[in-house]
Amino acid sequence: MLESHIRKPSSRELLDESRSSPFASKTHLLTAMAVLTNVTGNICLSYGMQEVGRTVSVSPADYVRALLNPWVLAGSFTLAVWMMSELALLSRADLTFVLPVTASAYGLTALAGHFVLGDQISWQRWLGIAVISIGVFLAEETPSLTSVEP
Protein backbone atom coordinates (compact mmCIF):
# COMPACT_ATOMS: atom_id res chain seq x y z
CA MET A 1 0.00 0.00 0.00
CA LEU A 2 1.41 3.39 -0.96
CA GLU A 3 2.28 5.71 1.91
CA SER A 4 -0.05 8.68 2.05
CA HIS A 5 1.57 12.08 2.36
CA ILE A 6 -1.72 13.97 2.58
CA ARG A 7 -4.00 13.56 5.61
CA LYS A 8 -7.50 14.79 6.27
CA PRO A 9 -7.95 14.99 10.05
CA SER A 10 -11.05 16.54 11.58
CA SER A 11 -11.05 20.32 12.04
CA ARG A 12 -10.73 20.01 15.82
CA GLU A 13 -7.86 17.49 15.57
CA LEU A 14 -6.02 19.66 13.07
CA LEU A 15 -6.36 22.86 15.09
CA ASP A 16 -5.12 21.05 18.23
CA GLU A 17 -2.27 19.38 16.33
CA SER A 18 -1.18 22.67 14.74
CA ARG A 19 -0.03 23.86 18.16
CA SER A 20 2.33 20.87 18.63
CA SER A 21 6.10 21.11 18.05
CA PRO A 22 6.39 18.45 15.30
CA PHE A 23 3.61 20.11 13.29
CA ALA A 24 5.16 23.54 13.78
CA SER A 25 8.62 22.26 12.80
CA LYS A 26 7.32 20.88 9.50
CA THR A 27 5.53 24.15 8.85
CA HIS A 28 8.77 26.07 9.44
CA LEU A 29 10.67 23.71 7.14
CA LEU A 30 8.12 24.29 4.37
CA THR A 31 8.35 28.04 5.01
CA ALA A 32 12.15 27.95 4.62
CA MET A 33 11.79 25.96 1.40
CA ALA A 34 9.20 28.39 0.04
CA VAL A 35 11.38 31.41 0.87
CA LEU A 36 14.60 29.98 -0.61
CA THR A 37 12.99 28.79 -3.85
CA ASN A 38 11.17 32.13 -4.20
CA VAL A 39 14.42 34.12 -3.86
CA THR A 40 16.46 31.85 -6.14
CA GLY A 41 13.71 31.63 -8.73
CA ASN A 42 13.18 35.40 -8.87
CA ILE A 43 16.90 36.15 -9.16
CA CYS A 44 17.35 33.63 -11.99
CA LEU A 45 14.21 34.91 -13.70
CA SER A 46 15.27 38.54 -13.40
CA TYR A 47 18.76 37.85 -14.75
CA GLY A 48 17.31 35.88 -17.64
CA MET A 49 14.63 38.43 -18.52
CA GLN A 50 17.24 41.21 -18.57
CA GLU A 51 19.15 39.11 -21.12
CA VAL A 52 16.01 38.45 -23.17
CA GLY A 53 15.01 42.11 -23.22
CA ARG A 54 11.66 43.91 -23.14
CA THR A 55 8.83 41.40 -23.24
CA VAL A 56 5.44 43.04 -22.82
CA SER A 57 3.07 41.13 -25.08
CA VAL A 58 -0.30 39.39 -25.29
CA SER A 59 1.21 36.74 -27.52
CA PRO A 60 2.16 33.51 -25.68
CA ALA A 61 4.83 32.89 -28.33
CA ASP A 62 6.91 35.76 -26.95
CA TYR A 63 6.88 34.19 -23.49
CA VAL A 64 7.73 30.76 -24.90
CA ARG A 65 10.72 32.38 -26.62
CA ALA A 66 11.76 33.92 -23.29
CA LEU A 67 11.58 30.46 -21.70
CA LEU A 68 14.32 29.31 -24.10
CA ASN A 69 16.78 31.41 -22.09
CA PRO A 70 18.46 29.00 -19.60
CA TRP A 71 18.20 31.47 -16.71
CA VAL A 72 14.51 32.08 -17.39
CA LEU A 73 13.96 28.32 -17.60
CA ALA A 74 15.86 27.67 -14.35
CA GLY A 75 14.00 30.51 -12.64
CA SER A 76 10.62 29.27 -13.86
CA PHE A 77 11.37 25.71 -12.73
CA THR A 78 12.50 26.93 -9.30
CA LEU A 79 9.38 29.06 -8.99
CA ALA A 80 7.29 25.98 -9.86
CA VAL A 81 8.94 24.24 -6.87
CA TRP A 82 8.16 27.40 -4.86
CA MET A 83 4.52 27.09 -5.95
CA MET A 84 4.30 23.51 -4.67
CA SER A 85 5.93 24.53 -1.38
CA GLU A 86 3.48 27.39 -1.01
CA LEU A 87 0.49 25.11 -1.69
CA ALA A 88 1.78 22.58 0.84
CA LEU A 89 2.18 25.42 3.33
CA LEU A 90 -1.36 26.69 2.70
CA SER A 91 -2.70 23.20 3.44
CA ARG A 92 -1.45 23.53 7.03
CA ALA A 93 -1.38 27.28 7.77
CA ASP A 94 -3.54 30.39 7.37
CA LEU A 95 -3.02 32.62 4.34
CA THR A 96 -2.68 35.57 6.74
CA PHE A 97 0.17 33.70 8.47
CA VAL A 98 1.89 32.57 5.28
CA LEU A 99 1.80 36.00 3.60
CA PRO A 100 3.81 37.97 6.18
CA VAL A 101 6.06 35.06 7.19
CA THR A 102 7.18 34.38 3.62
CA ALA A 103 7.65 38.11 3.04
CA SER A 104 11.23 37.60 4.22
CA ALA A 105 11.77 36.50 0.62
CA TYR A 106 11.40 40.13 -0.52
CA GLY A 107 14.18 41.34 1.73
CA LEU A 108 16.41 38.43 0.74
CA THR A 109 15.63 39.01 -2.96
CA ALA A 110 16.61 42.67 -2.62
CA LEU A 111 19.88 41.65 -0.95
CA ALA A 112 20.53 38.99 -3.59
CA GLY A 113 19.69 41.55 -6.29
CA HIS A 114 22.34 43.82 -4.79
CA PHE A 115 25.12 41.26 -4.34
CA VAL A 116 24.43 39.10 -7.40
CA LEU A 117 22.89 41.46 -9.98
CA GLY A 118 24.46 44.72 -8.83
CA ASP A 119 21.16 46.46 -7.96
CA GLN A 120 21.63 49.61 -5.93
CA ILE A 121 20.12 49.61 -2.42
CA SER A 122 19.32 53.05 -1.03
CA TRP A 123 18.87 53.74 2.69
CA GLN A 124 15.09 53.62 2.15
CA ARG A 125 15.41 50.07 0.84
CA TRP A 126 17.63 49.04 3.76
CA LEU A 127 14.95 50.48 6.06
CA GLY A 128 12.32 48.52 4.11
CA ILE A 129 14.24 45.29 4.65
CA ALA A 130 14.42 46.03 8.39
CA VAL A 131 10.70 46.86 8.64
CA ILE A 132 9.75 43.69 6.75
CA SER A 133 11.92 41.65 9.12
CA ILE A 134 10.05 43.07 12.12
CA GLY A 135 6.76 42.15 10.42
CA VAL A 136 8.00 38.60 9.81
CA PHE A 137 8.99 38.15 13.47
CA LEU A 138 5.63 39.54 14.62
CA ALA A 139 3.71 37.14 12.37
CA GLU A 140 5.80 34.23 13.64
CA GLU A 141 4.41 34.97 17.13
CA THR A 142 0.87 34.13 16.01
CA PRO A 143 -0.60 30.60 15.73
CA SER A 144 0.00 29.30 12.21
CA LEU A 145 -3.51 27.84 11.82
CA THR A 146 -6.81 29.33 13.02
CA SER A 147 -9.22 28.29 10.27
CA VAL A 148 -9.50 24.84 8.69
CA GLU A 149 -12.25 25.06 6.11
CA PRO A 150 -14.24 28.15 5.18
Binding site: H5, I6, K8, K26, S46, Y63, Y106, A110, S122, V131
Partner: protein
Protein backbone atom coordinates in the same frame (compact mmCIF):
# COMPACT_ATOMS: atom_id res chain seq x y z
CA UNK B 1 2.96 50.45 -18.35
CA UNK B 2 4.70 49.40 -15.12
CA UNK B 3 1.68 50.32 -13.01
CA UNK B 4 -0.80 48.53 -15.30
CA UNK B 5 1.25 45.38 -14.88
CA UNK B 6 1.33 45.92 -11.09
CA UNK B 7 -2.51 46.17 -11.08
CA UNK B 8 -2.82 42.93 -13.09
CA UNK B 9 -0.44 41.19 -10.69
CA UNK B 10 -2.32 42.49 -7.62
CA UNK B 11 -5.73 41.24 -8.77
CA UNK B 12 -4.49 37.87 -10.01
CA UNK B 13 -2.43 37.28 -6.84
CA UNK B 14 -5.41 38.08 -4.59
CA UNK B 15 -7.80 35.79 -6.44
CA UNK B 16 -5.17 33.08 -6.82
CA UNK B 17 -4.07 32.99 -3.18
CA UNK B 18 -7.62 32.92 -1.84
CA UNK B 19 -8.65 30.09 -4.15
CA UNK B 20 -5.48 28.13 -3.36
CA UNK B 21 -5.92 28.50 0.40
CA UNK B 22 -9.54 27.38 0.32
CA UNK B 23 -8.77 24.55 -2.10
CA UNK B 24 -5.74 23.23 -0.18
CA UNK B 25 -7.67 23.23 3.10
CA UNK B 26 -10.25 21.00 1.43
CA UNK B 27 -7.60 18.64 0.05
CA UNK B 28 -5.95 18.04 3.43
CA UNK B 29 -2.66 18.49 5.28
CA UNK B 30 0.51 17.93 3.22
CA UNK B 31 2.98 16.20 5.51
CA UNK B 32 6.26 16.72 3.67
CA UNK B 33 7.74 17.49 0.26
CA UNK B 34 9.59 14.42 -0.91
CA UNK B 35 9.12 12.86 -4.35
CA UNK B 36 6.15 10.80 -3.17
CA UNK B 37 4.29 13.72 -1.67
CA UNK B 38 4.96 15.89 -4.74
CA UNK B 39 3.29 13.24 -6.91
CA UNK B 40 0.34 12.91 -4.52
CA UNK B 41 0.00 16.69 -4.32
CA UNK B 42 -0.05 16.97 -8.13
CA UNK B 43 -2.79 14.33 -8.35
CA UNK B 44 -4.85 16.10 -5.68
CA UNK B 45 -4.39 19.48 -7.38
CA UNK B 46 -5.64 18.32 -10.81
CA UNK B 47 -8.81 17.05 -9.10
CA UNK B 48 -9.45 20.37 -7.35
CA UNK B 49 -11.21 23.05 -9.46
CA UNK B 50 -10.44 25.65 -6.76
CA UNK B 51 -6.69 25.05 -6.77
CA UNK B 52 -6.60 24.80 -10.57
CA UNK B 53 -8.39 28.14 -10.73
CA UNK B 54 -5.99 29.59 -8.20
CA UNK B 55 -2.98 28.39 -10.16
CA UNK B 56 -4.45 29.81 -13.37
CA UNK B 57 -4.90 33.21 -11.71
CA UNK B 58 -1.33 33.11 -10.38
CA UNK B 59 -0.09 32.09 -13.84
CA UNK B 60 -1.57 35.31 -15.25
CA UNK B 61 0.28 37.17 -12.51
CA UNK B 62 3.47 35.24 -13.30
CA UNK B 63 3.52 36.32 -16.94
CA UNK B 64 2.82 39.88 -15.87
CA UNK B 65 5.80 39.59 -13.47
CA UNK B 66 7.98 38.35 -16.34
CA UNK B 67 6.98 41.41 -18.36
CA UNK B 68 7.60 43.71 -15.42
CA UNK B 69 11.04 42.19 -14.83
CA UNK B 70 11.98 42.95 -18.43
CA UNK B 71 11.36 46.67 -17.92
CA UNK B 72 12.15 47.21 -14.22
CA UNK B 73 14.74 46.10 -11.70
CA UNK B 74 13.98 43.12 -9.47
CA UNK B 75 14.12 45.39 -6.42
CA UNK B 76 11.10 47.32 -7.80
CA UNK B 77 9.25 44.53 -9.50
CA UNK B 78 9.03 41.96 -6.75
CA UNK B 79 7.85 44.23 -3.90
CA UNK B 80 5.42 45.91 -6.26
CA UNK B 81 3.76 42.55 -6.75
CA UNK B 82 2.87 42.44 -3.05
CA UNK B 83 0.37 45.31 -3.43
CA UNK B 84 -2.35 42.72 -2.88
CA UNK B 85 -1.35 42.02 0.73
CA UNK B 86 -3.95 44.19 2.44
CA UNK B 87 -6.82 43.02 0.20
CA UNK B 88 -5.83 39.39 0.77
CA UNK B 89 -5.74 39.87 4.55
CA UNK B 90 -9.19 41.49 4.64
CA UNK B 91 -10.71 38.86 2.34
CA UNK B 92 -9.04 36.01 4.27
CA UNK B 93 -10.59 37.31 7.50
CA UNK B 94 -14.14 37.55 6.14
CA UNK B 95 -14.25 34.83 3.48
CA UNK B 96 -11.82 32.23 4.82
CA UNK B 97 -12.77 33.02 8.44
CA UNK B 98 -9.16 33.28 9.58
CA UNK B 99 -8.59 34.74 13.04
CA UNK B 100 -6.72 37.95 12.22
CA UNK B 101 -5.82 39.81 15.41
CA UNK B 102 -3.69 42.84 16.06
CA UNK B 103 -0.34 41.01 15.64
CA UNK B 104 -1.21 39.81 12.14
CA UNK B 105 -2.64 43.20 11.16
CA UNK B 106 0.52 44.82 12.48
CA UNK B 107 2.73 42.26 10.73
CA UNK B 108 0.89 42.75 7.43
CA UNK B 109 1.02 46.53 7.82
CA UNK B 110 4.76 46.44 8.52
CA UNK B 111 5.35 44.20 5.52
CA UNK B 112 3.37 46.57 3.27
CA UNK B 113 5.28 49.61 4.60
CA UNK B 114 8.54 47.73 4.19
CA UNK B 115 7.63 46.80 0.63
CA UNK B 116 6.77 50.41 -0.23
CA UNK B 117 10.17 51.46 1.10
CA UNK B 118 11.79 48.64 -0.85
CA UNK B 119 10.13 49.85 -4.05
CA UNK B 120 11.26 53.47 -3.60
Amino acid sequence: MKWILVAIIAVSNTVGDLLNTAGMKRIGVVEDLGAGSFAQLCCAIVRSPMVLGGIAALAVGFFAVMSLLSIATVSFAIPATASSYLAETVLAKYILKEDVRWRRWAATGLVVVGLLLLSS
